[in-house]
C-alpha cells in the first residue's frame, strides 16, 4: 500500500532535551495509526512536526510524498490538526472561528460557511454557532476544535488526544465520524486511552523517550507476548510478606505486585498459576481474575522495565 506519512530518522532536541531520537515510522494511506506513550514521550512533538508547528533537527518526513520542510504550505492545506490544548479564537464566534479556518485552508466563503454549519449539525453544536468560545464548556470547545480540524475536508487528519475532556456521547460521535472517514482519509492520532487505541487503530506504535519501542497491528503486538496472561488474586486482607516471598520463589512468575488487598502477576504457564492458586487458598483468597495481555499490559511492560 502507498504511504501517506513517512518519518525517516527524525531527531529533535529542545533546550538541551532530546524529544525525538532517530524516529522512523510510516502510515499507509487510508489507515488509522495511533501513537501511545507516557507523558513526555514525544507524541505531541511528532504531530506538531507534521503540521509545521515545530521544526525537526535531523531526518526527513513526508506527507503524501511531499517533504514537510520544503512544501509545508501544501501539506498544511491537506492536513487537519486538532491540538491537545484549546486554541480557539476567543474574539470570534464559533461560526466565525470555523469559517475563518476553512477560508485559511483555501475554501471559498460560501463553502466555508456551509461546511461549518454542516459540521455543527453533525456534532450537534449548531445552537452554539453564534456564541463566543469562552461561554462554552471545555468539552464543547473540544468538539468545535474537532470540527475546525475537519472543516476543509483534509486528506490527512492529525489528532492529539481527540476525546480528552469529552463526555461519552460526544466521544461516540467523534469516533463514529472518524470511523466513517477512515476509509478515505489517513488518520494519525495520539492518545493515552488504550481502549480507544485498541478499538479504532489499524496500527499502534508505542513511543518511549522519543523513539518507537514497538509498532504493528494490535494482534501482532499481542502476539509478541507469546500468550502472557495477567492474573489477579483478591484477599480479604492485604497479603502477608510471607506469601509474597513464596510467590516470588515460583519460577516464571513475572512482575508480582501488591495492590491493596490484591496481588497481580503475569505468567505464560497455566500450571504455575495453579500452583500459586493452591498457595493462595491457604491465605483467605476471596476472588480471582485472569485476562490475556492487552495493550495496557504491553505498554506497562515496555515502558516500565519490561514484563520479563
Amino acid at each position: 500500500m502507498e504511504a501517506s506519512i513517512t518519518f525517516k530518522a527524525i531527531g529533535k532536541t529542545f533546550r538541551n532535551n532530546i524529544l525525538l531520537s532517530d524516529l522512523s515510522f510510516g502510515v499507509e494511506k487510508g489507515s488509522t495509526f495511533v501513537l501511545i506513550g507516557e507523558n513526555g514521550a514525544g507524541k505531541s512533538v511528532v504531530l506538531k512536526l507534521l503540521v509545521g508547528l515545530m521544526e525537526k533537527d535531523a531526518g526527513m518526513a513526508y506527507i503524501n510524498g511531499k517533504d514537510i520542510s520544503t512544501r509545508g504550505d501544501e501539506i498544511r492545506s491537506i492536513t487537519g490538526y486538532m491540538p491537545q490544548t484549546i486554541d480557539l479564537d476567543d474574539e470570534l464566534t464559533v461560526l466565525e472561528n470555523l469559517v475563518i479556518f476553512g477560508r485559511l485552508h483555501g475554501l471559498s466563503p460560501c463553502e466555508a460557511h456551509s461546511n461549518a454549519v454542516d459540521w455543527s449539525q453533525r456534532l450537534k453544536f449548531e445552537n452554539n454557532l453564534a456564541r463566543m468560545p469562552e461561554e462554552l464548556s471545555y468539552g464543547n470547545k473540544r468538539l468545535i476544535q474537532f470540527a475546525r480540524a475537519l472543516v476543509h475536508d483534509p486528506e490527512v487528519i492529525i489528532l492529539d488526544e481527540p476525546t480528552k475532556g469529552l463526555d461519552p456521547h460526544s466521544r461516540t460521535k467523534v469516533w463514529d465520524i472518524l470511523d466513517n472517514l477512515h476509509q478515505h482519509k489517513t488518520i494519525l492520532f495520539a492518545t493515552q486511552n488504550f481502549a480507544e487505541a485498541e478499538r479504532y487503530a489499524d496500527r499502534i506504535a508505542i513511543l518511549h523517550h522519543g523513539n518507537i519501542k514497538m509498532d504493528g497491528t494490535l494482534e501482532r503486538l499481542i502476539e509478541t507476548t507469546h500468550g502472557l496472561t495477567r492474573y489477579r488474586l483478591s484477599f480479604s486482607e492485604p497479603p502477608q510478606g510471607q506469601f509474597m516471598e513464596k510467590l516470588k520463589a515460583f519460577p516464571r512468575i513475572l512482575r508480582p505486585q501488591v495492590k491493596g488487598t490484591e496481588i497481580e502477576f503475569y505468567s505464560r504457564e497455566r500450571k504455575q498459576f495453579f500452583n500459586v492458586l493452591e498457595l493462595a487458598l491457604q491465605y483467605e483468597l476471596e476472588d480471582m481474575d485472569t485476562s490475556i495481555c492487552r495493550l495496557h499490559d504491553l505498554f506497562i511492560g515496555l515502558t516500565d522495565g519490561g514484563l520479563e
Binding site: L53, L104, H105
Partner: protein, 246 residues
C-alpha cells in the same frame, strides 16, 4: 490568505467599533486639553502655539494608536492565546501573519489621523485646505507604518504586561516630548537637537508644521522613513521565521 486574516481582524474590530470610536475622538482631545493648552501659556513662538502643536497631536495620537494596536495584537497572537499555533497549522506563511498585524495597525493609525486632523483644526479654529490635508496624511503614512512595524516587532518579544506598559509609556514620551512635537527643539541642548534633526520621524513632524504654515515641504523625512521601514520590516519578518516555529 492575507485577505482572510484582514477579514478576521475586521470581524474583531467591528465588535469593538464603539470603544474604538471613543478612543479615536478622546485621544486627540485629551492631548489638546492636557498638553497643548497648558503648554500654550509657557512656550513662546512666532506663531500661535496651539496651531504649531497640532501636528504633534496628529503624530502622537496616530503613532501611539498604531503602536498600541500592533504590539497588543502581536503579543496576543504570540504569547497570550495560543493563536499563533492555530494560525501556523494553516497554509499561512509567517510573513502573512506579520503583514496582517502591520496593515491593521497602519489602517487604524490612519483612521486616527483622519479623525485627529479635522478635530484639532476645529478645536484650534484654524483653516486647512484639502491639499494641505492630503499632504499631511501623505507625510503621516510612513510615520504611522513605522510605529505599526515597531509595535509588531516588539510584540514578538514582549510577554510580560508590565514590560508592555513600560514600552508604551516610553513610546508616548518619545512621541510627545522628545522629537519636537509639543516642545520646540530650541529648548533642548544643541547637541541633542543635532541628533534629533537627523531622525527621519522628527523631519516628518517638522514637515507637517511647515505644511500648516504654508511653507515648502521637506520630503527627506518621508523617504528616509520609508527606507527605514523597509529595513525594519525585513528584520521583523526574519525574526518571525526565527521565533514562530520552534
Amino acid at each position: 490568505m492575507l485577505k482572510v486574516l484582514l477579514y478576521r481582524d475586521w470581524l474583531k474590530y467591528k465588535k469593538n467599533s464603539i470603544s474604538l470610536l471613543i478612543i479615536f475622538t478622546m485621544l486627540p482631545m485629551l492631548l489638546h486639553l492636557f498638553l497643548s493648552i497648558p503648554l500654550s501659556s509657557i512656550v513662546e513662538l512666532d506663531m500661535r502655539y496651539i496651531n504649531w502643536a497640532a501636528p504633534g497631536i496628529w503624530v502622537t495620537s496616530s503613532g501611539l494608536l498604531a503602536f498600541c494596536v500592533s504590539v497588543l495584537r502581536m503579543k496576543k497572537i504570540k504569547h497570550d492565546s495560543g493563536q499563533l499555533d492555530a494560525l501556523l497549522k494553516t497554509p499561512l506563511r509567517n510573513g502573512e501573519i506579520v503583514f496582517s498585524v502591520i496593515i491593521i495597525g497602519t489602517i487604524l493609525g490612519m483612521i486616527q489621523a483622519l479623525i485627529s486632523i479635522p478635530l484639532t483644526v476645529m478645536l484650534n479654529n484654524e483653516y486647512l485646505s484639502i491639499v494641505q490635508f492630503f499632504f499631511i496624511l501623505l507625510q503621516l503614512i510612513p510615520l504611522i507604518s513605522f510605529y505599526a512595524i515597531l509595535g509588531t516587532l516588539l510584540g514578538i518579544f514582549i510577554k510580560d504586561g508590565i514590560a508592555l506598559v513600560s514600552v508604551i509609556l516610553l513610546i508616548f514620551l518619545i512621541l510627545a516630548l522628545s522629537i519636537g512635537s509639543f516642545l520646540p527643539l530650541e529648548n533642548f541642548p544643541i547637541e541633542y537637537v543635532d541628533v534629533v534633526n537627523m531622525i527621519p520621524l522628527s523631519l516628518i513632524i517638522n514637515s507637517c508644521q511647515m505644511i500648516i504654515q504654508n511653507e515648502s515641504i521637506l520630503y527627506s523625512g518621508f523617504f528616509l522613513t520609508i527606507l527605514f521601514n523597509i529595513f525594519l520590516l525585513l528584520i521583523t519578518v526574519a525574526l518571525s521565521y526565527k521565533t514562530f516555529r520552534k
